[in-house]
Symmetry: C2
Subunit: 138 residues, 2 copies
DNA sequence: AATAAATACTATCAAATAGATAGGATTAAT
DNA sequence: ATTAATCCTATCTATTTGATAGTATTTATT
């Protein structure tokens, strides 16, 4: 399971990509209302995406958020790793958050291979999906 | 990520499948030592597998655990669902633990489809793997 | 300069989950 | 009886999840 936080992050990004305009940033309050995401929680999420250089923010009146990078260059894996961390099902099989298991000799681990396969299939799907590809284009 | 508990469960089952004999059940202490799993934690796990009719147990001297069903009929998904619950990344996409998301209309959810694809690919791998297929066969 | 409206930041909190450990009760073979 | 195994209940700590409250700061507009 991904966390609610991560689900909110993805939905918020899709919303921003869909609604931003040259002259106007998208406000937290609008995203919260439209996507039914708790406002204060969303603030934290958007700031985190900003700190990771996914979003740009502007303070004060007429402030809000806009995409810092093109939505077609932001994959779901990138967002998921920022918000939730590893995507793999075992630490010893994670590409970006590798940790060895205390209890096992990796060379002789019986279960590692299976979860490498799961990881590869999962990444095949998620790497191919961008914020843009989730956007409603007419 | 799957939990340590789930990882331990799978490793313990593979160990039991590998080491059980007609006349002798496999003891918690042996599994704990060989697989470096905390003994008391392992007790809880094995009992849970027993309650779910994966294992059979025998109390008292010469007691222990053995497979209740054939290892080739026990898929990884079954174990993972018993120990960790849902395998899918979103509740609204889970086959065995479906829950709707509070905040979204499922028909118009932009992210559901991606996670259905991840689910299908993941299950393709995990349904095909059984305890037997992880066992060392010579 | 004052006001309004937005994000930024800090602190806090409650509930659930993860990951165990301790100790005694029960069962069964010898 | 003794020994050795599972079974059961209770408990514990740390972390994560999911959030809320309140204040500070920034900016556009009047």
């Amino acid at each position: 399971m991904i966390s609610n936080k991560c689900k909110y992050a993805i939905k918020a990004l899709v919303y921003i990509a869909n609604n931003e305009q040259d002259d106007k940033a998208v406000m937290t309050a609008d995203i919260a209302r439209e996507q039914k995401i708790p406002r204060k929680f969303l603030e934290i999420i958007l700031r985190e995406l900003r700190n990771n250089r996914i979003l740009d923010s502007k303070r004060g009146k007429d402030g809000g958020f806009r995409m810092l990078r093109a939505p077609e260059n932001i994959s779901l894996t990138e967002i998921m790793r920022i918000i939730d961390g590893p995507i793999a099902m075992l630490p010893c099989v994670s590409l970006n958050y590798y940790r060895s298991c205390d209890e096992c000799e990796e060379d002789s681990c019986q279960i590692k291979t299976v979860f490498e396969q799961v990881r590869d299939k999962t990444l095949e799907v998620l790497n191919g999906k961008t914020i843009k590809s989730l956007t409603s284009q007419f």
